[in-house]
């Protein structure tokens, strides 16, 4: 947040604090929706900082993606375990390893995308192209999700 200036740093710390509170509330009250809110808030602060700093492509983005995914996964996992379930031996260890693998995979995907963006970032059109592709990707994901839900209902 140092890149955004003192004023942004002060405001950013407050917002991140709020995100942390949202995460704590999600875990304490078992409100899974707040996990995403906390992650989106932190992501928003990061994006705003990048916009203010107007810096070249941030190489820390894959780490941020992995960190966010890790925190979100751990948050959901924590809420899922709230039922007092008696699991099998080694269950937590296996799940922990899988979540770590997911985070590593997220970092890899993000790094690949970042490299791709860096490679084609010659004109502003390229950025728009990446954004539009990503937006289309979201739409496809939503469509896939809808189809999956409707097929399960039948």
């Amino acid at each position: 947040m140092a890149r955004g200036g003192d004023a942004f740093q002060a405001a950013g710390i407050r917002v991140v604090g709020l995100a942390f509170l949202a995460l704590v509330a999600a875990l304490v009250l078992s409100w899974p929706g707040f996990v995403a809110v906390a992650a989106a808030t932190v992501g928003g602060v990061y994006g705003t900082e990048l916009a203010i700093a107007d810096a070249p492509l941030d190489v820390a983005a894959p780490a941020v993606a992995a960190g966010l995914l890790l925190s979100v996964e751990l948050g959901y996992w924590s809420i899922e375990e709230r039922g007092g379930w008696k699991g099998e031996a080694g269950d937590s260890l296996r799940r922990g390893a899988f979540v770590a693998l997911l985070a590593a995979g997220a970092a890899l995907v993000a790094a690949t995308l970042l490299a791709l963006v860096d490679a084609v970032r010659t004109t502003s059109l390229a950025i728009d192209l990446v954004g539009a592709t990503a937006a289309a990707g979201v739409l496809v994901a939503v469509l896939v999700l809808t189809r999956a839900q409707s097929s399960s209902g039948s």
């Binding site: 994006g47 990707g137 994901a141």
Partner: protein, 427 residues
């Protein structure tokens, strides 16, 4: 199985959408880079999830137990497809809890694998309980989709009341025709010595009292009291119950009735049952082990059903109340209708005794002056009811329930003493 999206779906979709829109709005590709793994996982997770094919079996080691006794339960789960996590919640009805193990289990199943978990349940009180409902939730590896269902593998568990120790019981004033353990008032063939009389032709030689005959210079024979059985009808008041936490006067009454029935049946008495309340239940007097189980199983169905109907003993079939039977009422003395029925029976010359299961220990007088006054008036009303019964020659024993200061034996001793003196007064 019902397929639903987990909270992750919405969360991941929101993060991905916000990230991608933010990337467009702020013209920062890093946000799209962050959002991409979320979108990718969301698409893969929802698409790759396959419905599990689960089979669940519940086995109870026994379906009959004494209240408080642990009953081992085995839950066997198998799946044709691999499931990363299956959550099993063994639903238990009110009055049944877990004695050992956990009723919430999470397991992982490979394709074609099965897993059997065990726990022990315990019926906190007597009664009939349907157990075997299991709520199942299966999750895929990425945990985006859950499948939920409930399976009913119902087993009917009968929890019998804890046996109470009884050293002595209230005996009927008059005996019946069958052989039993009660010494009859009449004379006949038996063990207990009654009297001597002059020998008459036809008397057995073994009955001759030779010492007395030598003194009288004529043959005299011993007369004896025969051992006969008695008829006992247990009258359980189910008009009202007073409950505080785990303690209930109706449960104590049934517990006492079960103990009394067992004790009477051991003496070869015939025991019947009448549950007088919202639902009228009766069981014709009988004897033996079969009758014991019949009685207890009838008692297990006893519960309070609200009614405003004035039930009296006229609705009972005549053979439920055999002549010369001892009617033993078990009541908290809360409902006038039950007291009226007992008075009615006494009016019909039945031998009646009452075990009052004291509800006062479960109640508090209240905080306000009005509450305390009402409580005192209620106590006085109870005194009036008790006095009405005593005035009719009905012995009333006050028993403090399973956790009271007075045990059932001591309470019954009070009734025996009363009946002894009332018999003398009657004589």
């Amino acid at each position: 199985m019902r397929r639903t999206g987990s909270p992750r779906v919405l969360g991941y979709a929101a993060i991905a959408a916000i990230g991608l829109l933010g990337a467009l709005a702020l013209r920062q590709p890093e946000l799209a880079v962050i959002a991409a793994p979320f979108a990718l996982l969301l698409a893969v997770g929802t698409r790759a999830a396959r419905s599990p094919d689960l089979a669940v079996e519940v086995t109870l080691e026994t379906e009959r137990a004494i209240e408080g006794e642990p009953i081992p339960v085995t839950i066997d789960v198998s799946s044709e497809r691999a499931v990363d996590r299956v959550e099993l919640l063994f639903e238990l009805p009110e009055g049944v809890d877990v004695a050992d193990g956990s009723r919430a289990r999470a397991i992982r199943l490979g394709a074609g694998e099965s897993s059997d978990g065990s726990l022990a349940i315990r019926c906190a009180r007597w009664g009939v309980f349907d157990v075997g409902r299991i709520d199942i939730r299966a999750r895929d590896l990425l945990r985006f989709v859950t499948w939920e269902t409930s399976v009913e593998r119902t087993h009917r568990v009968k929890a019998y009341p804890t046996p109470l120790t009884l050293r002595a019981i209230v005996t009927a004033r008059e005996t019946q025709a069958f052989v039993g353990s009660e010494v009859a008032v009449v004379k006949g063939e038996g063990i207990e010595y009654a009297d001597i009389r002059d020998f008459v032709p036809g008397d057995r030689v073994r009955s001759i009292n030779w010492r007395a005959s030598a003194r009288r210079q004529g043959l005299v024979v011993n007369e004896r009291h025969p051992e006969r059985n008695t008829d006992v009808v247990l009258f359980v008041d189910s008009f009202a119950d007073v409950r505080l936490g785990e303690h209930s006067v109706l449960e104590d009454a049934v517990r006492a009735a079960a103990a009394l029935a067992t004790r009477y049946l051991e003496r070869r008495d015939r025991v019947g049952l009448v549950g007088l309340g919202g639902v009228l239940r009766w069981l014709q007097p009988g004897m033996g082990t079969t009758q014991r189980y019949r009685l207890i199983e009838t008692m297990l169905e006893t519960g309070v059903e609200p009614t405003y109907a004035w039930r009296d003993v006229n609705v009972l079939p005549a053979r439920i109340l055999p002549p010369k039977a001892l009617i033993l009422g078990l009541t908290p003395l809360v409902d006038q209708r039950f007291v009226g029925a007992l008075e009615d029976l006494r009016g019909r010359r039945f031998d009646v005794a009452v075990v009052e299961v004291d509800p006062v220990r479960l109640l508090s007088p209240g905080r306000s002056e009005t509450d305390r006054l009402a409580f005192r008036l209620w106590l006085l009303e109870r005194e009036v009811l008790r006095a009405r019964l005593v005035a009719l020659g009905i012995g009333v024993a006050t028993w403090g329930g399973g956790d009271g200061d007075t045990d059932l034996d001591s309470a019954l001793e009070g009734v025996r003493t009363y009946r002894r003196y009332s018999r003398l007064a009657h004589a």
